[in-house]
């Protein structure tokens, strides 16, 4: 049997980045699972989970999704590394007293994934000691943006307004947004760090209608103006006619390049 690590920490502490680097360094195959502390209203995966899984899978295409097949023969291989990510808002001191919450335990049991070790950001020296905030009573708002495509300039404006406090005190925002040219951009921002991270996924969809891959937005903060966040997003998303207008010249250019070659 391979090793199973449970990696927990507060939002924005660098769990996903650490996991990505660990996967890249690992010689053998790896699996990934993202757990939440609360039930997700019957949805299969939360937008945050979809964003992280899609991002990691894009960066490491051979990564195995443990939520769909945790117990395959490959995962039983001794070199197999299972990485389980858990967003947990408790500080390290509280964590000792509280332990892993029962909902998380039940998820792990149902997937037959018993971690060999639990590493927590801010407690364990194996993990980087990033300067992150301890969030308490955090509001969280998320939106599944599957098949939605943004007007690129509008997305710039919306993100600028969002992280600068136009819709409440945002402490953390993470998104995976589709653009009309087939790109998907990973957006990542936390109040304690300077600037936003914008990372285009390696996988690009053809500019032919709406992409099939997951897309979503997760915002954590206080006094969030969710109604106006949603209404601004609605003003930024392209309808079918406008999407087609954006994509026609891109398809023409692709055809010309193909013809020329």
């Amino acid at each position: 049997m391979g090793q199973k690590l449970l990696i927990s920490g507060s939002p924005g502490c660098g769990k996903t980045t650490w996991i990505l680097n660990t996967i890249k360094r690992n010689q053998g195959a790896c699996g990934y699972l993202r757990l939440s502390e609360q039930a997700n209203n019957g949805q299969e995966k939360s937008p945050e989970s979809l964003i992280d899984c899609t991002f990691l899978k894009d960066q490491v295409p051979h990564l195995q999704d443990l939520s769909s097949c945790p117990d395959t023969s490959i995962s039983k291989h001794k070199d197999f590394l299972s990485l389980i990510e858990l967003s947990q808002s408790q500080s390290p001191d509280q964590l000792e007293a509280v332990g892993i919450n029962p909902y998380v335990k039940s998820q792990l049991e149902s997937l037959k994934l018993q971690p060999d070790r639990h590493l927590h950001f801010g407690r364990d020296s194996e993990l980087p000691n990033n300067d992150t905030l301890v969030f308490k009573e955090l509001e969280s708002w998320s939106l599944n943006l599957a098949k939605s495509v943004w007007d690129p300039q509008s997305l710039n404006t919306f993100w600028f307004e969002l992280v600068n406090g136009a819709y409440g005190d945002v402490y953390r925002a993470k998104g995976l947004m589709n653009l009309p040219d087939g790109q998907s951009i990973f957006f990542n921002w936390i109040v304690s760090q300077k600037g936003s991270q914008f990372l285009p996924l390696k996988t690009v969809s053809p500019p032919n209608g709406r992409p099939e891959r997951p897309s979503g937005l997760v915002i954590q903060g206080k006094g969030l103006d969710c109604i106006n966040i949603q209404s601004t997003i609605n003003l930024c998303l392209l309808n079918d006619a406008l999407l087609e207008m954006h994509q026609i010249p891109l398809r023409d250019r692709q055809s010309e390049a193909l013809y020329a070659s």
Binding site: D151, P152, Q153, S154, N156, T157, F158, E161, N164, G165, A166, D225, N228, T232, L235, C236, L238, L242
Partner: protein, 271 residues
């Protein structure tokens, strides 16, 4: 004699009052307005009433034109879908609020005002929608001033105040004579031309929330860019009370335009 130039009032009554008060305190009675009396802001009638009462000579801005013509500003003026939708919303609200008398007043405004070799326009001599940005290609900038027959061109529209001196300009003309195939060349040196952008009273975008305007001395040619603080809270509350998008209040209170400006400095509306 000193005169004041104001621009882009954008229905922001508190800012307009503060700027007029500042001008009055300096004893300047000659004021020219470069348009955009309305648009985005919450007090279009109050601002137009005040400009009419004070009998301030005004050009027509792009917003004034669009409200009158019943047109939404041309799509190419908006840098994004979001800016366009917000702009259309503000347009519909403003058109609904404005009285017929004030609409007639905006319709009566000229697109430019000339005083000898000084020209006042909203955007550029070509169009109310064209941006003359401070870093615009020098040749294009000189062409705008020269073609308009002006020494000094006052404009607004960009909401960023600046003074640009265009020195050492020259035009080279080559004339081909068909009868003897000889070409004649002539170089004409141009005196210094000046573009003065008055910034914006009601929707500043120069890194501060203060309203801006300029004072020009037509004897010495000296230009001063003035900044005036005003009670932004009053305008923000009026935006919310009017039912305009709350984001307008947030953007104004942070010194951002209600919608972003177009980035193409040489853009000319083809409508």
């Amino acid at each position: 004699m000193k005169h004041a130039v104001i621009s882009c009032l954008h229905a922001n009554l508190a800012a307009v009052k503060a700027v007029l008060n500042d001008i009055d305190q300096k004893g300047i009675s000659d004021i020219t307005c470069l348009g955009d009396l309305v648009g985005y802001g919450p007090q279009p009638n109050e601002v137009v009433d005040l400009v009419r009462e004070r009998d301030i000579a005004s050009c027509q801005g792009c917003w004034d034109e669009d409200i009158i013509e019943g047109l939404n500003a041309c799509e190419c003026s908006y840098p994004s879908q979001l800016a366009e939708k917000r702009g259309h919303l503000a347009h519909e609200w403003t058109a609904e609020q404005l009285t017929d008398i004030n609409k007639d007043f905006l319709a009566s405004l000229p697109t430019s005002i000339r005083r000898d070799r000084i020209l006042f326009v909203h955007g550029s001599p070509n169009s109310q929608h064209e941006y003359l940005l401070p870093d615009m290609n020098a040749f294009a900038a000189l062409e705008r001033v020269e073609k308009a027959g002006a020494d000094t061109l006052f404009c607004g529209h960009t909401h960023q105040p600046y003074v640009r001196e265009l020195k050492n300009g020259s035009i080279r003309v080559r004339l081909q004579n068909t009868s003897n195939h000889n070409a004649e060349e002539k170089e004409i040196n141009l005196p210094m031309r000046k573009i003065v952008n008055a910034g914006s009273v009601g929707e500043p975008r120069h890194g501060s929330t203060n309203a801006t305007y300029v004072i020009h001395d037509d004897v010495t040619g000296e230009v001063e860019i003035k900044e005036v603080a005003y009670d932004i809270g009053l305008t923000c509350q009026a935006i919310i009370d009017a039912g305009l998008p709350r984001i307008f209040a947030w953007r104004l209170s942070h010194g951002f335009e209600f919608a972003e400006q177009a980035e193409d400095a040489s853009h000319v509306c083809e409508r």
